[in-house]
Symmetry: C2
Subunit: 173 residues, 2 copies
């Protein structure tokens, strides 16, 4: 069933830099059947878990996270790059290949004890997702699952997130 999804994702060589094959999901998103199928598979994988808040990482994470929040009748919380969220934020640094980066969440985005689903489009090394998990937990959120459409298995990002229930729909090994 996921073969059609696989086939709807485009490989773009040498993006964002030479030697990297980028998994382009825009070809999936513009096909209503494939977009719908990806949402249905995510919901099915989530099963009966109770979710109060879907948190997503900008920008592609928003595309799946907002639809899942809508379908789950949960609230939607954006996790963003520094300086984008207007009110008081909490921020978390994470390692990149060279240097560090940072993401933020509104300090009042989550009520302590709320059940949270973290959603992003793609799991690579897992650094951003781990930082997002820390932000959610610092606000008192209880992470019920961390979900990705795509997992780049060969980058072993899963190891960094082994404290969490990790769900991915499509894995590349």
């Amino acid at each position: 069933m996921t073969e059609e999804l696989h086939n709807s994702i485009r490989d773009v060589p040498d993006f964002p830099k030479k030697g990297i094959i980028f998994k382009d999901i825009t070809t999936l998103l513009k096909d209503p059947e494939r977009f719908n199928q990806s949402i249905e598979l995510m919901l099915a994988a989530l099963g009966k878990r109770k979710i109060d808040i879907v948190a997503s990482i900008e920008s592609r994470g928003f595309i799946f996270g907002s639809v899942l929040a809508y379908r789950l009748k949960a609230g939607f919380v954006p996790i963003r790059k520094p300086g984008k969220l207007p009110a008081k934020t909490v921020s978390e640094k994470y390692e990149l290949e060279y240097g560090t980066d940072q993401i933020e969440i509104h300090a009042d985005a989550i009520i302590p004890g709320q059940d949270v689903l973290l959603v992003d489009d793609l799991l690579a090394t897992g650094g951003t997702a781990l930082a997002a998990c820390k932000l959610i937990e610092r606000l008192g959120g209880r992470i019920q699952a961390v979900m990705f459409l795509i997992e780049l298995g060969f980058l072993k990002g899963r190891n960094l997130l082994n404290n969490y229930e990790l769900i991915s729909i499509i894995t590349y090994n």
Copy 2:
């Protein structure tokens, strides 16, 4: 009915710079009832228009655009800042208060003749939305409507978009 929506949007003074009162929709998004209500109002305002593609402007536009695409059984097409889309793009410059900015769309995102709904969270001066309309039309898309959750009426962005059917759910005058 939109009064509850109004009340769920937070005013943040002096963001992104001194003297501007920012309309913060994160307080609406984290409330499932208000998020759902905003989507239902958008769908109702759209009426019976046939939509093949929902195009949205990054990042906040994605949050509403993707849910509308899902509900309308349409494809979703992201319009992004330069350098973010991996495949061949078409780009359009637009004026800012000081200088210019640019947005891009994948050159193969729309099939000529497809009916397109453009969605963003907020209409200010209209420069970005007009550039997005031009991109869609350069690919042969037929714009059925341009939709915003919030319209800052006092900035008169509507005038710039008078070639299009413009729908906004909440207007501040």
